[in-house]
Each structure stands twice: as structure tokens, then as C-alpha cells.
Symmetry: D2
């Protein structure tokens, strides 16, 4: 990389890798086994004992809340650029981010409350989240409409006296399956008559509020992603105090704008880590298997795929670092083209690399014996969540066309 990582990052990275070697990789099988036992016993929606065991170790090792891009109550943050290689490592093991309190959607929710919340909201929800005591959900997507266009969102948030009354059905509410999950950020319409981008607001809704029902989980390919899951949540005459609103009525889009950038780039950083691991596994498997008289690793058709993988990964990483740097230096809004670009590039790249790695493993590649099929299912989903490829490509293209129009007028 032509801009070398900072001293601080290199130190954190070294310690994070050491933690992975000691506590994460050796426990991958245990994690799956424990969750599988819950599942077979009839209820997968339980706290992972392993993760609870590792969280204090991570905190003690100073590997905690690294996602925070700026100082918060005396805790120094690190820049997006510094965070990138750390987050990439966490992308290698899907459940690992929570160990470091760096898992979605909590990171995005914590940032949202930190940036847009009142002191009271921070006290009540941000602090326990930062301590990793509770988890949170983000309720935006709805089953009945194309949620890629957020103006379609139908959930209503109607003020009645000192309360908001919320009605709607949300789904793919990630993380809402966990027993730890205690707080939701809900997006909905406070004023359907307002201008298109001033209709939506965000409110904080405690999970135990009457009228909130977690209906069921949505699977991702065949995975339930327990214990966090992707849940369908019904909101029926749910009442919260007006103090629970974030930033103010009609400002939901503004928050979404600020919130989604970091969430997206974290996805991309993890996608790069996943692809890197898949490439390692591909190389190892090809070297270990012989067919028709030669190791598969000597077949030029695999040379092509290994080389393309390396080229694609390195390009996606550089593009992501570039976006991180731009977010750090000119802000998330100015970096919107760069964020949109990586949101398209990174998961498409990782899908391709993981898919090749699956093919290199033969039938084993689609099974539970390797991490690949699960990684594919997850990476494929990243191409849809937080805006599908098509929406981001449209945004990039419009900015590009606008640049040319501006150039023509000069």
C-alpha cells in the first residue's frame, strides 16, 4: 500500500492478529458447535457463551470499540483509514466483530446516538451499548415496498400528545433475534404531507414496549444467523415518549445520510478480509489436491483465478482505503461517490473470490466443513443490504454525468 498504515494502526493490528491467533481461530469450531446445539435443542436465539467469554479479554487487551471514528467522553477514536485493516481482520470470522464490540448494526446505532442523540438518550442507551452490555436493532426495511427507495417506507409515527404511536411491519431487522437486544431505532413517517425528504423520522423504541412483536427470522440462503438473525418485527400501536425522537421530526433522511456511510464502509472492509481468507484457502486446497497426475495448483486455469483474485482484492482494498481517507478528511457527505463505489465493488469482488474458492474445494466447498458457503451467503447479501448495487451505481453515474455537465459550462 503506498500510504503506509500509521504507527497506531500497526500496533493495534499486531495485537488484533495475536488475539485472533490465540482466541478466535482456535474457537471457530466451538462457536458453530455451541450454536448448533442450541438449534438442535429447539431454540437458537440464545447468547453465545463463547462470545461472552471473549469480550472481557478483548476489552482488557485494549481491542474494544475500535470502530469509533472520534473521541467520545475521553475515549480516543481512530480514523476510518486506521480502522480499515482492523475491520478487515474481523471480516475473516463472521462472529468475531462482536467480541470487540464492533459488530453491525450496533456500531451504526452507537454512532447514530452519539452524533444525533440527546444527553439523556446517550446515558440510557449509548453507554450500555459501548460497554457491550446490550445490543440494538435498526428497523428500516419493510416487506411491502421497495425499501431501496427510502421514500417508500410506510411505517407511521404519529404524535398523540406527549407520545408517538408507531404502526408498521419491518423486516431484515438484523440483530433483533438476540436476547441482549434491547433497543431499536425505527424509521417511519411522521408527516406524509411534508416534502419527500422531510416525511421520515427516527425514534428510539425499547424492545419491551407493548405492541412490539418479533415475529420470526428470515433466513439467508439456508442460514438463520442465530443468535442475532434477521427478524421480522411487528409494531402495533407502539407508544414511546416524544423525547425518544432523534434529532427532530422530519430529519430521518438526514440521519440516514450520516449513518449509512460508516456502516457501508465497515461492510466493505470485512468483505475484503473475507476475500483474503478465501484466497488463502483456495491456494492451500489447490496445492493439496492432485487430479489427472498433477496438483491442481499447477493448472493455468487456476493461475488465472488466483491472479484475478489477487488483483481484485488489492484494488478493492485500495479503493476502500481511499474512501476511508476521504471520509476522514472531507466528511461522509463529500465522500458519497467513494462510499457508493466501494459498496458496489467490495461485495461483488468478495462474492467472486469466495465462489472460486468454493469451486476449488469441490463439493466440500458448499458444505459446513468449510467456512466458504456461509461466507458466500453473507457476501451475496451485502450486495443488497444498505442499498442494492443498482441504487449505488445510479448514484455514481449521476455524479459522473453532473461532473461532465459542470465541465461543459466552464
Amino acid at each position: 500500500m503506498f500510504a503506509e498504515p500509521s504507527e497506531k494502526t500497526r500496533d493495534l493490528l499486531q495485537r488484533l492478529n495475536a488475539f485472533f491467533d490465540e482466541h478466535i481461530y482456535p474457537n471457530e469450531e466451538r462457536y458453530l458447535r455451541e450454536m448448533d446445539e442450541f438449534r438442535r435443542a429447539g431454540n437458537a436465539w440464545q447468547i453465545s457463551p463463547l462470545i461472552e467469554e471473549l469480550k472481557p479479554l478483548a476489552r482488557a487487551a485494549g481491542l474494544w470499540n475500535m470502530f469509533l471514528p472520534h473521541e467520545h467522553r475521553g475515549v480516543p477514536g481512530i480514523s476510518n483509514l486506521d480502522y480499515a485493516p482492523l475491520c478487515e481482520v474481523m471480516g475473516r470470522v463472521m462472529w468475531s466483530a462482536e467480541v470487540f464490540n464492533c459488530s453491525a448494526p450496533d456500531t451504526g446505532n452507537m454512532e447514530t446516538i452519539e452524533r444525533y442523540g440527546t444527553e439523556a438518550q446517550k446515558e440510557q442507551w449509548l453507554e450500555p451499548l459501548l460497554r457491550g452490555e446490550i445490543r440494538s436493532g435498526f428497523l428500516m426495511t419493510e416487506p411491502a415496498v421497495a425499501s431501496s427507495d427510502a421514500t417508500n417506507i410506510q411505517c407511521t409515527i404519529t404524535r398523540e400528545g406527549d407520545e408517538y404511536v408507531i404502526n408498521g411491519t419491518k423486516w431484515f431487522s438484523s440483530g433483533a433475534g438476540s436476547p441482549h437486544c434491547q433497543i431499536f431505532i425505527v424509521m417511519g413517517k411522521t408527516d406524509p404531507e411534508a416534502p419527500r425528504h422531510a416525511q421520515q423520522s427516527m425514534v428510539l423504541v425499547p424492545r419491551d414496549t407493548p405492541g412490539v412483536t418479533v415475529l420470526r427470522h428470515l433466513s439467508v440462503f439456508g442460514y438463520d444467523d442465530a443468535p442475532h438473525g434477521h427478524m421480522e418485527v411487528q409494531l402495533e400501536n407502539v407508544r414511546v415518549p416524544v423525547a425518544n425522537i432523534l434529532l427532530g421530526e422530519g430529519r430521518g433522511f438526514e440521519i440516514a445520510q450520516g449513518r449509512l456511510g460508516p456502516g457501508r464502509i465497515h461492510h466493505c472492509m470485512r468483505s475484503i478480509g473475507a476475500a483474503e481468507r478465501a484466497l488463502e484457502m483456495m491456494c492451500d486446497r489447490l496445492s493439496a489436491r492432485v487430479a489427472f497426475g498433477r496438483p491442481l495448483s499447477e493448472q493455468s486455469v487456476w493461475h488465472e483465478r488466483i491472479a484475478e483474485s489477487r488483483c481484485m482484492i488489492d484494488q478493492a482494498r485500495l479503493l476502500t482505503l481511499n474512501a476511508a481517507h476521504k471520509m476522514d478528511t472531507v466528511g461522509n457527505k463529500e465522500a458519497r461517490a467513494e462510499i457508493a463505489m466501494i459498496k458496489v465493488v467490495a461485495p461483488n469482488m468478495s462474492c467472486k473470490v469466495v465462489d472460486w474458492a468454493i469451486q476449488a474445494h469441490g463439493a466440500a466447498g458448499v458444505s459446513q466443513d468449510f467456512w466458504l458457503a456461509e461466507a458466500y451467503a453473507h457476501q451475496r447479501t451485502v450486495r443488497i443490504v444498505d442499498g442494492p448495487d443498482e441504487v449505488h451505481r445510479n448514484a455514481i453515474a449521476k455524479l459522473e454525468l453532473a461532473k461532465r455537465k459542470a465541465a461543459a459550462q466552464r
Copy 2:
């Protein structure tokens, strides 16, 4: 299609579609629900009540054993070309083929015993299979070697007196999870010193033979594909009478050659049906959803994908019909290039079309609410089973290069 389907096929097709409209499509949800209930109750490896209910209806409707390419004991067979559109319909609902006794690996196993078995073997195993009373497994792939090169297979079949003693570990033994599954065809080495293609043999192994252990299932992108599954099977000093050999010692490759053609083309026919259904779902969803002010179906980026899907499906179908015709007229061996070609083309095509359909559905596309993610998992696996893409492409290329060499010598 420029060669119109035969009268017989058109009649069968009409009746099969009617059966689907009456009995299959309306029961898709029930099938999933029943299997899920078994799963949640702790054991998914049970007979589907629905399928058992529908089998007699299918038999009564004359939609039974349609896969048989030639007459057997008075039952007239239909040609591969005639079977193609029927099998394509069955590809639209993954569990449907069993209703018509047309499901893998039973079809391949039945054909194998019919072509290469003794009268006694036929009486004992073929007849109950043809009546749909029992199910079967095909044990070839092994976890420890690149099984795409069948000479790698390590399982030993050692003659001791009047018995063969079998030792080995097999996996991805599809169908072996079903309680109905009573007979395995096992491939292994009878003579490790023989020439490379005369080392392997196939023997019939009843599932309840001592030493046979079905260890566990292998998942496919998170799906267990219960009740049939893809199982790991241990064979430890398994003893069967020498009469259980198929065709003779050292003739395993010869059988594999004859057997794999039909199995492969059936996969491809079903892949086309799956893709056709995915395209229908894609069109319907795009027409039903509005984003940024217009139905998604008016976006030219989706026009491109719909058009490419239609072009790819129609081409794959014509290529498959062409291969079927060649198998019918000059035999499976002469048609080996054509079979290899569709084995590469059809599942790659269906993966692409299903993937676009997933994207058109947004997050719903990866969930259990639509059939798409499961179809993707299955189609992706077809690119590996019965020979991965790479092996078939090598075979096609070598035939092509040989053609040119022959032309040069004329």
C-alpha cells in the same frame, strides 16, 4: 423450438402441467412446513407425508417412471428428447421429481441396474425401486481425494472367498438420509495393481449391512436437503456376497461412463426449468415494485438482464435437446462432447438467472419466503457434482483439438 415436440410428449407435458397446477404448486408451502416441523422436533430425516400422498396419484395419472429411456418389462420408455420438457417442469419444484419416481440418484441407479444388473439383482432391487417403495444411494465421492479424477478413489473392495470386504469413507452420498433408502451402489478398487481404468468396480451394498454407518449430513449453503440429504457414510469391513458385483470386477469405469450421461442431462433439464421459473418470478417482482417513481420493470438495466436471461435459457435448452437427440440416436458415448457441454452450460446459466432474480427481489430474495436462494444453492452445487466445470471443459477442449489434428492429417 425448431423440432416440435412429439405428440406423445405434448400429451404427457399437458398432463404433467395439470398435475403441477393441481397437486404440486399448491403444496409447496405444506412441504416446507412439514419438513420444518420435523426439523424443529429434532429429526428431519423422515419420510415426507406429502410426497407419499402424491405418489399414488402420479402413478394413477400415468406420470410414473418417465425417465426410462427404453422399454422395460413391457413398460414403454420414452426418448431423452421426449423426456426433456417433462424433466424441465420437474426442475421448477425441487422435491417434485420423487412424486413421479423420477428423482436422482434413483433414476441413475435404476438405469444402472437395468443395464448392467443380473436378473436376480433386478428382481431384488430394481423392481421395488421402480415401484417407488424403496430409495437408493450412489457412493462414489470421497472426502480425502479429488474425486473429480475417479482414479483417485481409495475405497477398497477386497475379495475374500465368496464375499467382498469393503472399507472406505464416502460423502455427498445423496439420498442416503432417507429412511426409505435401502440399497447403495458403491464404487471402489478391486485391483489397485490393474491398469488405471480397470482398478475400479461397483457393488450393491444393502444399507443395513453390518459395518455401514451413515455418519452425518453435509449441508449445501446452509440447507440440509432433508429428508434425502447428502450424507457421509463409513464402510468398515462391510461384507457382501460376490454376486453383488455389477457387470464384473474392474468394470466400474465402464458403468460410470454409461451411467453418468443420463444423470447429467437430467440435472441440466431441471436447471432449465429452475431458470425459467426464476425468470418468471423476476419479471413479476419487477412489475410489482416501484422505486424512484417508476416500476422497476421499466429500468433498462433490468431489460438487459431479462433479455440476457431469455437468450441464455433458450440457448441452453436447445443445446440440451440437441444432446438428448444425439444420445437417442448415436448413444451416450458418441454424445459425450454434447453431454459435457450442457453439463457446463446449464447450471452456469441457471446460477446466473437465479442470481439476477434474487437481486430483483432485494433482501426477500435470499430468504425462505421465496424459492430462489434454495434454488441457487442447488444450482451452484450442480456445477460441482457429476464432474466440476473444469473437468468437462477439459474434455470438450481435448475433443476439439483432436478434431483439428484429424483435419490437418486429411
Copy 3:
């Protein structure tokens, strides 16, 4: 192919191949040399002596006007399906079609006059065209507008008494560079106030009419395609008798509809022939060259490309035969989806195959020493002429979406 070619086609094909072996392939170098000598002498827009020499031989061999899909004045036509393999052979050598009076745009122009012309028009223009004495041009595309949407066309055809007065600039008027080219079919607006699809008409314009100026040629990736070329033609107050109109005022779209199908499928048939030849050259070159100790033909990366080429060519051919059969049996209009599909598939396929063949040849592949770079330039252009890919894909998608809407209403 699962529908075997007819007796008649097989006989014609055998004779055509024999003619190629005797007269076409051995003269490829001479053709290039002769045209190059003209070019170096300062004027490439001259009759090819070779083609003039071969035309009588082809006619004597009964290989003349084979493109005619139906009987004309006692000359029996052959079906599109029968013509396909013959046209494919002509696609192997770009200049060869003219030898058999089967070259574009003359074939399309002949068909147009035959279907829509008056007896007088046929006598004057069709007969000498059928005898190969003159050549013709088709003037539709204009430099100033997106001609893919034919309603954009600006050329005016204004009636003044017994004459039409034509004004406009046309380009990519293929064939108009030849000294033999004596007649143009011109598309333009007779009534800009009429409904959108009734504004345009087609008129016959003799090249030597005052006001017609052939301004210059347009190159195709550096090739001038002399002597026929792709010309820019100015029409300035060009006057022709009203009897020169085809079919009637406002019927230009109707003619275009009927005319473009055959022209498009001929392009596709030739694309398949070009791809087939490129694949042969690829195989031959790879077998002849050694790098890093092994013939290139043993590299699996080339196996992949050879196999993909074979799969793509065979699929495109089957799709084209299918379209031809549909044109023969239900007419060009009913076959519009099939024609659109091959118009997208065939040239994209041939571009890919030719591109791989270029890569297999190294730098030699882009040079004049092999036919490949010129073939690429031509095939790439086919993706644009007679409607760019995008327009055909939109048409296919709209038909597909309409099918689903109709199905939903049943």
C-alpha cells in the same frame, strides 16, 4: 443438430464447400493484394477483379442468389433454415458472399423490392441486381441523431407535383463506395405531422441523380472496407418521380419491419461462420506454439476458452436455426423476439471467440497476417448496425414482461 439439414441443403453445402476449397480460400491473399494495390495507387474504390472473375463460376455452379427465401419468377428459393449453413460458410471469408450474389445490403434491398416494389421497379432494379450486374445501397442511418430510434430520422422527402424532393445527410451507407452501386433505397420523412410510425417512407434514388454526393468513407477500426465501404452521402434537393416510392407514403416502418429480419439473421449466420473459423485458427495456433516447455494447447486456461467457444458457438447456431425455422413457419413478424435474440447473441459471441483467437496468436493476431483483427472489427460493428444490442434487449424484455402480464390475467 437435432433437426438434420435437408437433402437439398446438404447438397448445396457440399458444393459450396468445394467451391470455397477451389476458388475462395486459395484466393484470399490475392484479394487483399489487389485491393491493397488499388489503395496504394491512390483509389481503393474500384471493382475487385477477383470477384468479377469468380461470379460467373459461382453462377454456373448453381450457387447463386441462394438467399432468396421464396420462388421468384421461376427461380425456386430456399428456406431460411436451409440457407443458414450456406450463409455460415460465407461468413468465413468476408468478401465471399458477393461472389454468390448473396452480400449485404444487396440481399436486403433485393428482398425489399421483390416484396414491396411495383413491376416496373422490379424490372428496372431487381433484375440487374439478381443478375449481379449492379449493386445497391440502403440509406437510413444519419450522423446527427440516434438512428437506433428510427423515428429520429430527419431526412425529408417532400412531394412537389410528380416528384419527391429529398434533403438529408446519411452515413454508414454500406456498399455505396462501389462503382457498381447504382441504386439507393432512402428512408426519410414524407409527413412530419403524421402519427409517429406513419411519418417515414422509402424511395428509390438512382445514384446518378443530381444532388446525390458520396462525400467520404467511414472507417471501421482503421479498415476502409473498400471497394464497398461505409459512405457518407449527401442528398441536396434530389428529385425523383413519385413512382419511385416503395409501397406508399408513410409505410417506411412497415417495410423496415419486414426487411430487417432477413438482413439481421444473415449477419448472425455469418457471425457463426466467422467464430467457427476463429476457433479453428485458435486450436491450430495453440497446438503449434510452445512456451515454458509445453504446447500452449495443453494449458488448462486455453482448454477453458476452447470449451467455452465451442459451447457458445453451438448455442448461437441452434438459436439462429430456431429463429430461421420460426421465420419460415410463422413469418418474420411473429419471429421478432427470436430475431432480436440472435441479433444480440451471435455478434457478441463471435466478438468473444475472435478476441480469444487473437490472444492465442499473440501480436500476430492484431496484424494483417491473420484474418482475425479484421474479423473482430467487422463483428464488433455488427453489434451496432441494424439496431444496437440495447435496442434489441429492450424489445426482448418487453415481450417477456408482456407474456407474464398476459399469464397473470388468465
Copy 4:
């Protein structure tokens, strides 16, 4: 870009862009017209008056020999990283690099002599080259063998007394068509019995040496690329003094290694500039054309291509800058994986972007009226010269596999 360009680069870049605005873009038509007039007059192999006119201006503007990566006789060089954005600009107009004495193969030849030549060789050949008074050729590729494997090269360099006698045929000797071209660097075998990588040597051969014949030019698609061209050169008993050897007998590979890195990265930098310009043209054309009632720029299928172009260009640029930085900091040899990666990525990317831009222009895109078809022809060729994609991908894959093997042994 997350590492901002240096002050020096920004200043140079601003001045270079100003020079382009004033002297290069406004003269593009003139350049083509002048060369075309030579061509039509029968001899295209003449000095471009325009370039000769502009060279002194560029030199006066301090925009001269910017490619030099290090100080030479008091002239300060700039780093590869600093040169990248400058070279990218030159990629926008194919003939422009020579104006700044930065054109291939002269840059590579100058670097070679500078690094490996004797003082006498530098005095005689390097100095006039650096002053732009003469041009040079690099004779490596041969028509008879797969030159991608340099050990295949057959040209013999046999010592006889104080002279080397050279025999061989070389082709694609770029630049050798120019009347200014006075010196060749020739690669050939001095010792066919030596170990494989010690057989080859490089010698300086003045073009006017008896026995040297420039036979003909090789076209690139239909372009002759006059006046420099890609020539076939015969060497028949060509005698040069032994002092003309570079570095020593048997050291040809060593020089090639050192030489090819910079040449390759310059190609890539220019490819990025070409792609950037193609994207601009694509956007402008799409905004200017209306079809089916809307500007093409509003079609989402074009949004996809514009967005993909922007993503691909930015990624390729970052990868190239990364390689440049590595060459600057750890040397060309250590950066060989990075150089191989961009050599695959950059021209494949630019081919794709230029191809889309062609499609956006319709038929005009393949013609001489736009720069696109010529750019495509050139970019396509870059995928072959200086090592075809396949060779570089093999190298990348082998390094990747070796990394994993090393990791396994730790």
C-alpha cells in the same frame, strides 16, 4: 487519492494540462490530416511536422524527459509515483508523448542505456535520444516462436573476432518505421549452450548497418500507426563491434528484467488516461443523444456502465500508483508482482471502458470521426505486448502460491 500528489507533481501536472489545452487537443485533427496526406501520397513513413513543431515548445516549457526516474548528468528525475499523473495525461492523445520525449520505446531504450550502457554508448546514443534528435527501436519479438517465453528467441549473436555477427528476423519492432529511428537494441542468443537464462544478450545495432532491412509494417487492426509503426526487420549477417554489447554476454535477461518494469507501468498509466477520456466522451455523447423519448444518459443500463467504468478506472489508477510507489521505494524487482498486476488490470480495464464508449457512440464509435476505435486497437494490443495477460497472471499466481507455502512452513 488518499496519498495526495506532491507539490512538484501538481505543478507539472498543471503546466502539462495547460500545454495540452493550448497545443495538443487543438491539433489532434491536424495530426491525423497530415499523416493521412502522407499516406494518400504513397508514403506514410515520414516525420510529423506537427510533432517537430511542438517539441521545442515542450522543452522550453520544462516538460521534457519527465519519464526519467532519477537524476542524470545534473537533470533531476522524478519518481514513478510523481510521473504517473503526467503520463496518464499523455495517454489521452496517442501521439502526444513524443512531444515531451516521453514515448515508447525510446523511454525504455534510454533507461536501458542509462543503466547498463558504457560511457561511450551513452555519449553516442543516449545523449541524442535525450535531446529528441533521434529515435530508437527495441528488437526482441520474433515471428517464428512464442516470444512470450523469451527463452524461445532464436536470433543469433555470434562473436567473430572483434565483431558480433547477428542473424534473425524480428517483428513488431515499434518505432522502427520512423526516418528518425537510428539505433536498435537487439536481443539474441550469444550462447545457446549456456544455462537457459544466460543464453541471451543485448547489443546496440545502428539502423544503417549493412544487413539490416526494415521489411514491412505490421498493422494493428487496420491502423499502420505511421510514422513509427510496428516493423518486421531482417538481420542478415549484421556486423557490429563487440563494444556494442550491453552489460556483457549472457546478461540479456537481467537487462530485460530491469527494463520491462518501467515500460510496463508507463503503458498502464497511459491506459488509465485513455479510459478516463473514453468515459468523458461516453458521458457527453449519452447526454447529447435522445432515443425513445429520453436522453440516453437517463437509461439505467448506461448508469451501470458509467458507474462500472468509474469504479474500474479508479481502482486501476490506485493499483498503478501503488506499484509506482513500490518501484520507487523497494525497486523494480521487489515490485514484480505489483507490476504484473497492473499490466493485466490496466489494459483490460481500458479495453472495456473504451468498448462501452464505442457502443454509446453507435456506428460513429468505430469510425475515424472519434478517437475511440483507434484507442481500442491500441489498448487491445497492450494486453499482448510486453508479455500477454496469461504470462503475467501465471507469475502473480506463482508468487501467491509461494506466499502460502512459506506461511505454512512458519
